[in-house]
């Protein structure tokens, strides 16, 4: 166990705070017996995985942050049932390097491999396959938790339904997850068969996604927010399925000789202290390039890492936004609310803040997590430089549109919302709070986000 007093921020690099940060394994924590000794300041404790959430859920100013480290022997694969039991501090990167060569893939992957399993459960993360497979929580069978009173408890959706659904998506505020068992999916190759298409505008995009997504396990659209007018919402739609060995043989016979070799390259980090290079001109040029580089229609194979984790090619790319950092604004609105979506996209386009990454996806069924984000509808994700002028009024207008349409915002990305916005988007918040206080009556688990959004 190593303790230091340092400043922490989320991936967006905004609103940092200083806390006692303890590097600790689950074993070391559970052998402590009581957690109170770790909270000398009375500001509570929070778990931190790899800090890939964008805002402040894994920081706890003035209190203690438990930065979890995987223990020895963190992976137990059971090929007979297709499940794996892992140390919750394990990164998806490490896990994939172990299981992919054995023919298994994780049921849901975010846009980066550098998140922990604990973080994946606590945010009930979604991937490009949400419309087909749901969120991460839907694939979890069992969790072992360390609760506020220092006790350990192993739970399943049937043994403790309340605590279970308060923990899936519960942002670490119901207790610390030490171990998780979840189902994997079998794969024959490390490739996906991908269709990429250039789409000229929003209406065509919506239409294509509605009519064609069911043919693909994975689907996502990248929207060029620099385009306006008749081209508003022009996009690159990228959809695919895992390639079977036979398919790979016919597309890339050479790769089919070693179909399960998984060794994504690790590139050097962007140095710290960069100025914001993702300014308007650079983003405009990039968007134009990205759109043009995609052929009108392209059908082919892509490696798992290129298809799912292209951003992992550049370590610490968040530093490209400079010292002001950036925020990610992710919303979901019901399927009917296409006009709301259009208004938001055009507002952001007109404001000219030059979003680097605007992603549109369709969500399928809810997992059941009381604070889980995904709910059937369109989810739009925007990256915005935090220093941009006029962001406050723009986001406030978007908030009204989202909530007016019956939508909500994603806590794992949020660094900006107010308590009222979250309350309006999450009608089961009070139910969640009641469960939380039954397992943590003294309020041991606390984070900057929890205080900011009045979650505790």
């Amino acid at each position: 166990m190593k303790t230091e007093t340092i400043e922490l921020a989320g991936w967006g690099g905004t609103a940092p705070s200083v806390a006692s940060v303890v590097d600790v394994t689950a074993d070391e924590l559970t052998s402590e017996g009581s957690l109170t000794a770790l909270d000398p300041h009375g500001r509570g404790l929070i778990a931190r995985g790899l800090g890939r959430s964008y805002g402040d859920p894994a920081q706890n100013g003035g209190g203690t942050v438990l930065r979890l480290q995987p223990g020895a022997n963190p992976i137990h694969l059971d090929p007979a049932t297709g499940t794996v039991t892992v140390d919750a501090a394990l990164s998806l990167d490490t896990l994939l390097r172990e299981i992919v060569p054995q023919g298994w893939f994780i049921p849901v992957t975010p846009g980066t491999r550098f998140v922990t399993v604990g973080g994946a459960v606590a945010s009930d993360i979604h991937g490009k396959n949400h419309h087909a497979d749901g969120s991460f929580g839907a694939h979890v069978e069992r969790l072992t938790m360390l609760l506020a009173d220092g006790s350990q408890r192993t739970i399943t959706p049937t043994s403790d339904p309340d605590l279970w659904w308060a923990t899936i998506g519960g942002m670490g505020l119901t207790g610390l997850i030490t171990e998780a068992t979840f189902r994997l999916i079998p794969i024959e190759t490390v490739h996906c068969l991908v269709d990429n298409e250039r789409i000229p505008n929003l209406d065509t995009l919506i239409e294509k996604m509605i009519t064609g997504d069911h043919r693909y396990r994975y689907s996502v659209a990248w929207i060029d927010l620099v385009a306006t007018g008749a081209s508003l919402g022009r996009a690159v739609l990228s959809r695919g399925n895992h390639a079977t060995l036979n398919e790979l043989r016919s597309y890339v016979p050479k790769a089919a000789e070693n179909p399960l070799v998984f060794d994504p390259p690790v590139f050097p980090d962007v140095p710290s202290g960069m100025p914001n290079v993702l300014n308007r001109t650079a983003v405009r040029a990039f968007n134009e390039f990205w759109y043009r580089k995609t052929p009108r229609e392209h059908h082919g194979t892509e490696s798992l890492s290129a298809f799912f984790h292209p951003l992992d090619m550049v370590g610490q790319w968040n530093r490209l936004y400079g010292r002001h950092g950036f925020l990610q604004y992710q919303l979901v609105v019901p399927f009917e609310a296409v006009e709301t979506l259009r208004t938001i996209i055009s507002k952001v386009s007109e404001a000219g803040h030059a979003s680097f990454l605007a992603v549109l996806k369709r969500f399928g069924a809810e997992s059941g997590g009381l604070l889980s984000f995904p709910t059937p509808g369109w989810t739009l994700t925007l990256d915005l430089p935090a220093g941009a002028a006029g962001l406050g009024p723009l986001l406030a207008a978007c908030d009204d549109l989202v909530l007016g349409a019956g939508g909500r915002h994603y806590l794992a990305k949020d660094a900006y919302a107010s308590p009222a916005i979250i309350r309006a988007g999450y009608p089961r918040l009070d139910e969640w709070k009641a469960i939380r206080s039954s397992v943590d009556p003294e309020g041991m688990w606390a984070s900057d986000m929890a205080r900011r959004l009045d979650l505790i």
């Binding site: 609103a15 705070s17 100013g61 003035g62 925020l327 406050g392 916005i421």
Partner: protein, 247 residues
């Protein structure tokens, strides 16, 4: 907790009736703002209006010279209203007549400097415990080079300014920031009836500069910005020139 675009949730104003501070609060107003606490000598007379409709505004009793109670006062506010994102140190007296009366001059110094030190340290301790927060200190160019016509006030502001910048350095690494604001002549109730000096501004101008400073993470903010250069020179102007400028 302040959000990613520097919108605070909670603001405490020490000297809650100050025109400049109230303009700053209005400028920082957003849907994120939940609570404004105006700490002033006569809370029952404080105007709670004019701050938009998102937040709840309260006035509580506070005197800058009540040194013994500052720690208890600040901690009490934090425990009642939660983390303090922004604290504005805005009290101050100009005391034009203090020059002829040593006792009242010393009293002015104890408000402007003593009060700044005492409440500033209490705030610093409180913000350190939360691991984040910004103390905004309304200093003045009057303290950069003291003028013959108001050197008592000027010297007290010089002390406050040196305290604030020093405190900022001392707090490095704690998550707490100190922003020292150096306005020139501001048209506020403090200066009503006085002849305007060059580079005069309104409280709203100070507010805009402070909000920008928060965005940029500035330690020192001059208002208007040009005064930084002007005082860079005036600081070294020969004595006879300086005296002439003040007459």
């Amino acid at each position: 907790m302040i959000n990613a675009i520097h919108q605070p949730q909670t603001i405490l104003v020490l000297g809650g009736t100050s025109d400049i501070a109230r303009a700053i609060v209005r400028e920082l107003e957003s849907p994120a703002l939940q609570q404004v606490i105006l700490a002033c000598r006569r809370p029952s007379e404080a105007d709670l209006g004019g701050f938009g409709d998102h937040s709840s505004v309260v006035a509580v009793e506070f005197d800058a010279t009540d040194f013994e109670n500052h720690t208890q006062f600040i901690d009490g506010v934090a425990s009642k209203y939660g983390d303090l994102d922004i604290v504005i140190q805005a009290f101050g007296q100009l005391g034009t007549e203090a020059r002829d009366d040593p006792a009242s001059a010393a009293r002015l110094a104890s408000v402007n400097y003593g009060g700044a030190v005492s409440s500033g340290l209490a705030v610093a301790e409180c913000l350190k415990k939360q691991g984040h927060g910004t103390l905004i200190v309304l200093s003045s160019v009057a303290g950069i080079r003291t003028r013959p016509s108001n050197f008592i006030y000027g010297s007290s502001k010089a002390g406050q300014d040196a305290f604030a910048t020093g405190l900022g350095h001392a707090l490095h690494g704690t998550g707490v920031n100190v922003m020292t604001v150096r306005p020139g002549f501001v048209r506020s109730s403090m200066t009503t009836g006085l002849d305007e000096a060059p580079f005069s501004v309104d409280p709203e101008d100070v507010a805009v500069a402070v909000a920008k400073g928060l965005q940029r993470g500035s330690d020192v903010v001059w208002v208007p910005g040009l005064l930084r250069m002007v005082f860079g020179l005036l600081r070294y102007a020969p004595g006879f020139v300086w005296r002439k400028l003040d007459s």
